[in-house]
């Protein structure tokens, strides 16, 4: 019944024993941050009168839905690595990894093939929920150079009328999205391994779009539904990683920049058969 804990560099994380999901992060300075992570999906807008969700448009029909089943999971622990293998649904699974010498938590996800037999296009997100007080503010690196301040339902240079409360708050992510609680001196950063889209629709929350499969053309030029068949025609499967850091703001700014460079300039790993150790030497 007790939470399962894992030790990373400068933090420990606890996991819910009934679902395997992460539930909090305790920092070395004694602060404890609630951190929940789950997967949800949006149904794509499909009314003929309005342009539906498609390659150019993100137009969800309503709020995101969760996956109904309780996740199943296995945990593996060794001195070098702590891993949770978690099945969320038939088509969403992930591995969470914590290394004792790394301040980041790794979320390695597999999403797809997204089922569409029910004739509903689906867009899958990863949602991070914390108790940080963020006052509608979040940050993305959308111009690829600096962290840009974003405020929910607000634009700095014109009066913004909220017509699309979800999509209207989505911004491009080149490599990272973050939340900051200045009063508590805490920052959450999620580094991505590719360009994605994301938002903070509620205080303390971040969501990132992972995979989309939609059944209607959005009438903006591509003239096809965003419905990739994959190799076997059942739909595309995607794999990817998020690297999550919770830390004080100063340390966080150093750590996420260094990690970002390491991910961007990842090593080339090459393999060669070799006959003996002497050859290697």
């Amino acid at each position: 019944e007790a939470p399962i804990t894992a030790q990373g560099k400068g933090f420990s994380a606890s996991f819910d024993p009934s679902t395997g999901s992460i539930q909090s992060v305790s920092l070395a300075n004694g602060k404890v941050v609630k951190l929940r992570q789950k997967y949800q999906w949006y149904a794509g807008y499909d009314t003929p009168k309005e342009p539906p969700s498609g390659a150019y448009l993100f137009r969800p029909k309503g709020p995101a839905s969760g996956f109904p089943d309780q996740p199943t999971y296995q945990i593996f622990n060794s001195p070098d690595c702590f891993e949770v293998h978690q099945n969320i649904s038939d088509y969403v699974s992930q591995t969470m990894r914590i290394y004792p010498d790394d301040p980041f938590i790794e979320f390695d996800f597999k999403v797809g093939p997204i089922p569409v037999a029910d004739k509903v296009g689906k867009e899958i997100i990863s949602l991070f929920q914390t108790d940080l007080k963020t006052n509608k503010v979040f940050y993305t690196d959308s111009n690829g150079r600096q962290m840009m301040k974003r405020v929910k339902d607000f634009r700095p240079t014109w009066k913004y009328k909220v017509i699309e409360p979800i999509a209207g708050n989505y911004y491009p992510i080149n490599s990272r999205i973050s939340l900051k609680d200045e009063d508590e001196d805490l920052q959450l950063v999620v580094l991505t391994d590719r360009s994605q889209g994301g938002a903070s629709l509620n205080d303390g929350e971040l969501e990132i779009m992972l995979h989309r499969r939609l059944l209607h053309d959005d009438s903006l030029g591509v003239d096809e539904a965003l419905n990739e068949p994959g190799v076997d025609g059942r739909g595309l499967i995607i794999r990817g990683k998020h690297y999550v850091l919770i830390s004080d703001i100063k340390s966080s700014n150093i750590l996420h920049r260094e990690k970002g460079m390491q991910l961007y300039m990842a090593p080339v790993v090459a393999f060669a058969p070799i006959s003996s150790f002497d050859d290697y030497r």
């Binding site: 399962i4 679902t19 390659a55 293998h85 460079m261 790993v269 090459a270 058969p273 150790f277 290697y280």
Partner: protein
């Protein structure tokens, strides 16, 4: 230069906004994937010769005994033919980042014992971790690996490090993982 030019051409085409954002037609998406894969494959020989050159003692000549390097493009689904079909493998990592750091190497593995030797001749500790069931079922995956071998490589700034990885059948027991909770939830 021809090999590098393939990359130049591929990246030139794939900087088009349709390729970046995924707003291309499906047949064009297939073509983009083909162009990039083709460039990678045509550059394998160049990469092999470059690694042979920088890891060779005698830079003036290359011999047939130099290791023949290849990339494993299926590593993200825990698939690598070179590792799976050979008992002794050289794993060489080139670090383009201008700082030294530790990198976690994960290679597809079966449950056999291992010996990992680092660049200074030191024996390294590694961990054998099961590949999740949802990855083993991946439709495109053609691999008999059920586990991954995890070890820490220390990469020099703008340099390379080679590790000798060997399957061994000694009586030394494999370090066992502690399985905390095997699927007790419904």
């Amino acid at each position: 230069f021809d090999a590098v030019d393939n990359f130049h051409r591929a990246m030139g085409i794939l900087q088009h906004h349709d390729a970046v954002t995924g707003t291309e037609k499906q047949l064009v998406a297939f073509d983009y994937a083909y162009i990039l894969n083709d460039a990678i494959e045509k550059s394998m020989d160049l990469m092999n010769r470059a690694l042979q050159f920088i890891s060779s003692k005698d830079k003036s000549s290359q011999s047939n005994s130099d290791p023949q390097y290849t990339l494993c493009l299926g590593l993200n689904i825990s698939q690598c033919e070179v590792v799976e079909s050979n008992d002794k493998v050289l794993v060489t990592l080139y670090n383009p980042y201008a700082h030294e750091y530790d990198f976690k190497v994960r290679i597809p593995w079966q449950e056999s014992n291992y010996k990992v030797t680092g660049p200074n001749g030191e024996s390294l500790n590694a961990t054998i971790i099961p590949i999740p069931g949802f990855m083993q079922d991946f439709p495109e995956r053609k691999s008999s690996a059920t586990h991954e071998l995890l070890f820490k490589a220390t990469l020099p700034a703008l340099g390379f490090a080679s590790y000798f990885v060997e399957k061994v059948s000694s009586n030394k027991p494999t370090p066992k993982l502690e399985t905390i909770l095997p699927l007790t939830t419904s």
